[in-house]
Symmetry: C2
Subunit: 426 residues, 2 copies
C-alpha cells in the first residue's frame, strides 16, 4: 500500500512549467517527503510539451526530467500524467487543437497519433530515472468527452476504447519490462453518468491498474452531510465499484485522487473526513495506493479557480502544514503497513448487459438505489461488495473474490450527482 500526494507547486501553480523555479520545487518535494509518503503524482502541461502536432518540446521534456529527478532526490517515487489537458476547472489545449484547427482528441487520427507519440516521448524521457514509477495518460481526459463539458468532443464508446489502447500501446511492453505501471484515469462520470463514452469496463480492465478519483462535491457531501457515512465511505465505495467491474479478482485499484473540498466540508471537519475516508479505504484488499489531492494550496493571487481549489493543500503556499496536512501525516504514519483484510462475502448486484455495461449508471450514483443500499448496509457494519449481474454465473470469479451471497436492488436513478466541482463559480 503506497501513500502519496498529488503535487501542486506552491509557487506559480502549474503555470510554473513556463519557467520552473527549481529552488521552490526542491523545497516543495522536501516538504512532501516529510509527510512520510512514498510518492508524488506530477502534471506537465500539454501545450508546453507539444506546442505543434508534430513537434515535441525537448526543453519541456528536460524540465520534466529534472522535476522527476528532484522528487527522486527527496526520496519520492514519481508518477507522471501526460496529457493536461484538464486541471482544477482549467482546460489546457494546444493551439493545434483549437478553433480553426478544432480537432477531436479522441477521434481525429492525426491528433491521436500525436498524443501516442507524446506518451512515448515522455516515457523515453524519464526511463533512465529509477524513481519514475508509472505513467498515466492524462488527468481526467474523459472530461473533454463528458456531456457537462461546455464544448464536448463527441466520441462513441468504441472510439474511447480505441483511444485508450492506442495511447497505452507504445509504452505498455517497455513499462512492464521496466517494472513500471501504465494506466489511464477518469473522474467519476465513468461510474455515474449514463451515456458517458468512457465505460466502467474500460476503467476496470484497460491499463495496469484501475484509477479512481473520489470527490464528494459531486452531490454526496451536500446531500448527506460532510461526515456522513456516504461522504467518508465514498472512496471505499468507488474501490468496491472498480473491483466489481474488473474481469480478474486481483485487479488493483489506485485511489489516485481524494481530497477534502471545503465548499462542502466544514473546515473543522476536514481532518476527521481525511482520517475516516482513509480508514474505510483500508478495509478493502487490492488497493494499490492512495494519493491525496493535493500538496499545496493554490495561491489566492490566481483568479477564476473554484474557491475550494485554494484550500485543498496539505501545505499552504508558504509550506506550512494545514489542519488536513496534520491529519493526513498522522494517518500515513499509523497505517504505513496495513494488514490484509477479510473478504466481503455479501455482494449487491449491479444490473448490467452481457458486456458489463450497467443498465443504469445513475443507480450507482449518489442517491441511486445501488449507492444508497450499499451505504445502508455499510453503515450497519455489513461490509458489502458489489458484483455484476453478468458475472453471477462465473463461479470461479465469485470464489476468488470471496463472494458467497448476493442480492439484487431494483435500479433507480439518483438525482444528486453533478461532476462539476462548484457550479456557482463556473
Amino acid at each position: 500500500m503506497k501513500f502519496g500526494v498529488n503535487y501542486t507547486p506552491s509557487q506559480g501553480w502549474f503555470y510554473m512549467w513556463l519557467h520552473p523555479d527549481w529552488d521552490t520545487v526542491h523545497r516543495d518535494m522536501d516538504h512532501i517527503a516529510s509527510l512520510g509518503v512514498d510518492h508524488v503524482r506530477i502534471f506537465p502541461l500539454w501545450p508546453i510539451l507539444q506546442p505543434n502536432r508534430t513537434a515535441i518540446n525537448t526543453s519541456g521534456l528536460k524540465d520534466l526530467h529534472r522535476m522527476v529527478g528532484v522528487a527522486g532526490k527527496a526520496g519520492l517515487d514519481c508518477y507522471v500524467d501526460v496529457l493536461q489537458g484538464h486541471m482544477s476547472s482549467f482546460d489546457f489545449l494546444p493551439s493545434w487543437m483549437l478553433s480553426w484547427h478544432k480537432k477531436n482528441m479522441f477521434t481525429d487520427p492525426a491528433a491521436v497519433q500525436a498524443q501516442a507519440e507524446l506518451v512515448a516521448a515522455v516515457y523515453d524521457d524519464l526511463h533512465d530515472l529509477s524513481c519514475f514509477a508509472g505513467l498515466t495518460l492524462g488527468n481526467e481526459c474523459n472530461q473533454f468527452a463528458g456531456s457537462s463539458h461546455p464544448s464536448p468532443m463527441r466520441a462513441s464508446n468504441e472510439d474511447i476504447e480505441a483511444w485508450l489502447r492506442e495511447l497505452l500501446k507504445p509504452v505498455t511492453k517497455r513499462a512492464h519490462q521496466d517494472g513500471r505501471v501504465v494506466l489511464h484515469c477518469e473522474n467519476d462520470e465513468v461510474w455515474y453518468s449514463d451515456g458517458h463514452p468512457f465505460l466502467p469496463e474500460y476503467a476496470a480492465n484497460i491499463g495496469d491498474i484501475t484509477a479512481i478519483h473520489s470527490w464528494v462535491f459531486n452531490g454526496t457531501a451536500q446531500h448527506y452531510g460532510d461526515l456522513s457515512q456516504e461522504s467518508v465511505r465514498h472512496a471505499e465505495y468507488l474501490v468496491q465499484l472498480a473491483q466489481a467491474f474488473a474481469n480478474y479478482a486481483d485487479r488493483k485499484v489506485w485511489v489516485q485522487e481524494i481530497g477534502a473540498p471545503l465548499n462542502v466540508i466544514a473546515p473543522e471537519h476536514a481532518a476527521q473526513f481525511c482520517r475516516e475516508s482513509i480508514e474505510h479505504i483500508l478495509d478493502s484488499n487490492n488497493v494499490y495506493g492512495l494519493t491525496w489531492w493535493c500538496s499545496h494550496n493554490v495561491d489566492q493571487r490566481y483568479a477564476d479557480f473554484p474557491t475550494l481549489e485554494h484550500e485543498l493543500g496539505l501545505f499552504d503556499v508558504d509550506g506550512k502544514l494545514t489542519p488536513i496536512g496534520y491529519s493526513f501525516k498522522e494517518v500515513v504514519r499509523q497505517y504505513q503497513n496495513p494488514c490484509k483484510v477479510e473478504a466481503r462475502p455479501q455482494a449487491l448486484v449491479i444490473d448490467t448487459d452481457s458486456e458489463g455495461l450497467p443498465i443504469l449508471r445513475a443507480s450507482l450514483s449518489p442517491g441511486g438505489s445501488v449507492f444508497d443500499r450499499w451505504m445502508e448496509l455499510s453503515a450497519a457494519g455489513e461490509r458489502p461488495s458489489l458484483v455484476l449481474s453478468k458475472d453471477l454465473a462465473d463461479h470461479r470469479l465469485l470464489e476468488e473474490r470471496g463472494i458467497g451471497s448476493h442480492h439484487s436492488v431494483e435500479p433507480k436513478a439518483g438525482k444528486l450527482y453533478s461532476s462539476v466541482s462548484d457550479s456557482s463559480v463556473l
Copy 2:
C-alpha cells in the same frame, strides 16, 4: 517612410517563446538588419505572458525585454503586438478564456481589464529601451469577432469601440510623452465585411496610426490574376480606403502586413509582385511605413499550417535570402527616401450613413463596384482617391486632402472576398 519586417523566428516559430534560443534570435535580427530595414514587428504569445487572468508572467516579460533589446542591438526599432491571440491560422488563448471559463475577450469586464493590464505591463516592461518604438494591441484580434471564425466571440460595434479605447487608454498618454505610437490592427474584414463589429471608422481614427494588412489571398489574386492591377494595387487601395475613413487629412497609414502568398501567386512572379506592390504604395502620401510579412519561412517540420505560411519568408529557415527576399532588399535600397507625391484630386465616393459606416462594405471588397471602379481608373493612370459621402460637405477636409472632384458609383456587392487564407487546409 519606414521599412521593416514582421519577425517570425527561424527556429521554433513563435513556440520559441517557451524557451528562447538567443543565439538564433541574434542571428535572425542580424539577417533582418542586413536587408537595410529600420524596424521589426514582434509577437509574444498571450498564454505565456498572462497564464492566469490576474497574473502576468514576469519571466515572460523578461524574455520580451531581451528580444526587443536584441533587435535594438542589431540597429532595429521594435514594434510589439501584445495579444496573440491569432497567428497564421492558430489561435493562442489562455486557459482562463477557454471552455469552462469561456470568456468573451471583448465584452467580459474582467477579461477586458486583464487585457488592459497586460498592455500596460508590456509598455512598462519595455519603456526603458530606446529602440522600443510602438505598441499594437494585438495581431488581428478582430478575427475572434468575425463571423467566419469557427467560434466567434459576439460583440456589438459599441462593444468593440469600448474595447479599443479601454485597452489603449493605459498607455496612450505615456507613449505620446515618450514619442512612441500606440495602435490597433485588423485584417481586411474591417473594410470588406458587412456586419463586422470592427468598423472602418475605428480603424481609421482610434489609436495613433491606421494599420492595414494587405493579403491578396482574399479572392483578389485568385480572380484577377497574381500580377493583375488588382493584386499589385491591393495595398495601395487599402491605403486610400484608410485615408478616406480618417477624420483628418494627415492621418498616417501603416502597411503593417503585406506578403506574397504562394498559394495564389506563382513563385516566379513573387519578386515582381513585391516590387510593384511597394511602388504603388509609395504613390500615396502619409504612409507611415511598410512592414513585410515575414522574416523567415516556417519550418516544414511543423504541421497544420496552411501551406503558404511555410513560404512567406524573406529568408529560409537557414537564413538564406529567398527570391522575394532579394527583391524586397533591392526595393528597400532604392526607395529609402521616397519623395512626397502629388495629391489625388479625383475621388470616388463611398456611400456611408451619417456616422461614416458604409452602406455596403461588400461594394469595397474584391469584385465590388467601388473596388472595381477604383482599379479601372487606376489602371487607366487616373490615381483616384476615395471619399465618404458624409464628408462631401466638409470643404476643409476635401481641400486638405486635395480632392477637387468626385463621382459616385452605385454600391454593388463583390462576391469574391474571403478572409480565410487557405480554406482547403482549414
